[in-house]
């Protein structure tokens, strides 16, 4: 009885302690994010050549795509192997709208997000009936279908008609960029701001009513039903949100590339995306940043070092096995733990002579 009471008390104190710490923790986290964002926006571009700025822009764009998939998998427990195809859809829609209208770039970006949201939600419809492996297969097949269609229609390049594609080189134009961000550095900053907005949108969802409903659905659909959660609605909501973000990324990619090619969106890239998202970590939004770095910075680095890009598939394969067996919450969760361990180890190495200082000796 006493033991039970004691353990209960210790549980109380354990549960009560974070109350004071969580506020300061939150403030520190916000400050770190602000500094990081300021560095990326103000300092980083001046350190990078045009080539590496281009790579950094791709990293930011794929971070948004990864964020969408991480939300689907980590929050709701839905697997989609069609996200890169949705990105291709978004790029197509974005490019078409940019050629067809003279609307400001941000307006077109939002419109692209909304149209892609509708199309992507259609891909998500099977999720209402099936889940797990079967959902993954269905989304992969749909992605394949989109790739096949895009191979015939190709991407808009300023041509006439609904498809807006012309084979004649004289009729082809570059996809425009926002007037405030035509240069490489400015466009990189522009994309980072969009990515930051998408993270805020994701966080707002996760912390609010949809996040609570998703967490319940992921753990137990019966519990969700008994709680009055409309499971179909919230699953579709997740697909719609992920597709909206991916559509935004598509429009940004269209502006970034100038000319879009089918080769940029192979179906198997959706599988690679799943691998990097798992490696980055699906339960933390930061995992999406790691995933963006893995899928876009790593190939550029390998290329720079003269290593074959096929090496990536092997690296990602090993990475996924490592993550699934030893660190299911991904690199964002494991890396700080490993660093803390390393820190303690180093501390003990340099700290041992310090044990003989008068201060510590006196306390013994």
């Amino acid at each position: 009885m006493d033991a039970a009471e004691a353990s209960h008390d210790s549980l109380m104190t354990r549960a009560m302690r974070p109350a004071r710490n969580s506020d300061t923790g939150e403030r520190i986290r916000l400050a770190v994010i602000a500094v990081l964002l300021a560095f990326v926006l103000l300092v980083l571009p001046s350190m990078l050549s045009a080539y590496w700025t281009d790579v950094a822009t791709s990293v930011a764009i794929y971070t948004i795509v990864a964020l969408g998939l991480a939300l689907l998998m980590g929050r709701v427990g839905l697997v989609s192997l069609g996200q890169v195809a949705v990105l291709a859809l978004g790029a197509w829609v974005g490019a078409r709208l940019l050629f067809a209208t003279g609307l400001p770039f941000p307006v077109v970006t939002i419109m692209t997000g909304l149209i892609t949201m509708v199309l992507g939600s259609l891909i998500g419809l099977p999720a209402l009936r099936v889940s797990g492996l079967y959902l993954a297969l269905i989304t992969l097949m749909l992605a394949g279908a989109i790739t096949v269609v895009l191979a015939t229609t190709d991407f808009p390049n300023g041509g006439a008609g609904f498809l807006g594609h012309t084979e004649a080189t004289t009729g082809a134009h570059e996809i425009r960029r926002p007037s405030i961000a035509t240069g490489e550095h400015a466009y990189f900053r522009y994309v980072v701001i969009w990515a930051a907005l998408m993270f805020i949108l994701a966080l707002w969802h996760v912390r609010g009513k949809p996040g609570r409903a998703w967490a319940t659905i992921r753990q137990s659909e019966p519990a969700a039903l008994a709680a009055g959660i409309n499971i179909s609605l919230y699953k579709m909501w997740a697909f719609a949100l992920a597709s909206f973000m991916t559509g935004i990324a598509g429009a940004l990619l269209a502006g970034s590339s100038g000319t879009l090619y089918n080769l940029t969106f192979p179906t198997q890239d959706s599988i690679i995306l799943l691998a990097v998202v798992l490696m980055g970590g699906i339960y933390s939004l930061w995992g999406a940043v790691v995933a963006g770095l893995l899928i876009k910075l790593l190939p550029a680095l390998l290329d720079n070092w003269g290593l074959p890009p096929d090496l990536l598939t092997i690296l990602f394969g090993i990475g996924v096995i490592q993550v699934l067996t030893t660190a299911p919450a991904g690199l964002v969760d494991q890396f700080p733990k490993d660093m803390a361990k390393l820190g303690r180890f180093l501390w003990r190495l340099v700290g041992s002579p310090g044990a003989r200082t008068p201060g510590t000796a006196g306390s013994e």
Binding site: T216, Q219, A223, A227, I229
Partner: protein
Amino acid sequence: MIKVENLEVRFGGVKPIDQMSVTFPGGTCGLIGPNGAGKTTFFNVLSGFVKPSGGSVTAFDEDLLAMADYRRARWGLRRTFQTEQAIEELSLYDNVAMLEEHSKNNGGSSRRDDVEGALEFVGLGKLNSNTKVGTLGARERRLVEIARAVVGKPRAVLLDEPAAGLPDEETEHMGSVIRRIPDEIGALVILVDHDMTLVSACCELTSVLDFGKLIASGPTDEVLRDEQVIRAYLGAEDV
């Protein structure tokens, strides 16, 4: 009041519930029976997870079976699960808020008041409501489920073995919480449990299921002395 008439559920050739007719007038009503008697299946019918092949359930003069499953929570139906389903990833507060925002029945009071009131009611008011439920023990998780079941003015609360796996003194606390639900929350409680001490302590009326059939129903102490009930639990003596 929940009135069940000629309820029948078929899984292929098996009838987990067979022509069940019973009335739960109010207060805390017990529902007991040996393993496989159909108690959880009955709850699943009320929740809408299982479609019965016949019969009717009238709850507070409304046809419960005609309602879509996810709408029943807003109508005022709550339940807990045999294997506890507190959402580990969410905080104490979010666990209860999740239910409140999808099924609140009464206007007026703020979400924070509702949620904190429910946590207070089950005795978790002293804990920091930002604590993740995944870090809590079995007793607290069971109480989180009860808090979810009483938030937002429910009309009927179905408790499926709420004290399963808890030691005696914690079961006692659970019983005291359950006993307060009808008066303080204003909901009808149906309690399924194998712990006869808990059932006797909480329920004035008890019904007994055996192989999907109702074999007894009435005041708890009489029902527990019923020969048919004792035989259902212990088996008949061979002559």
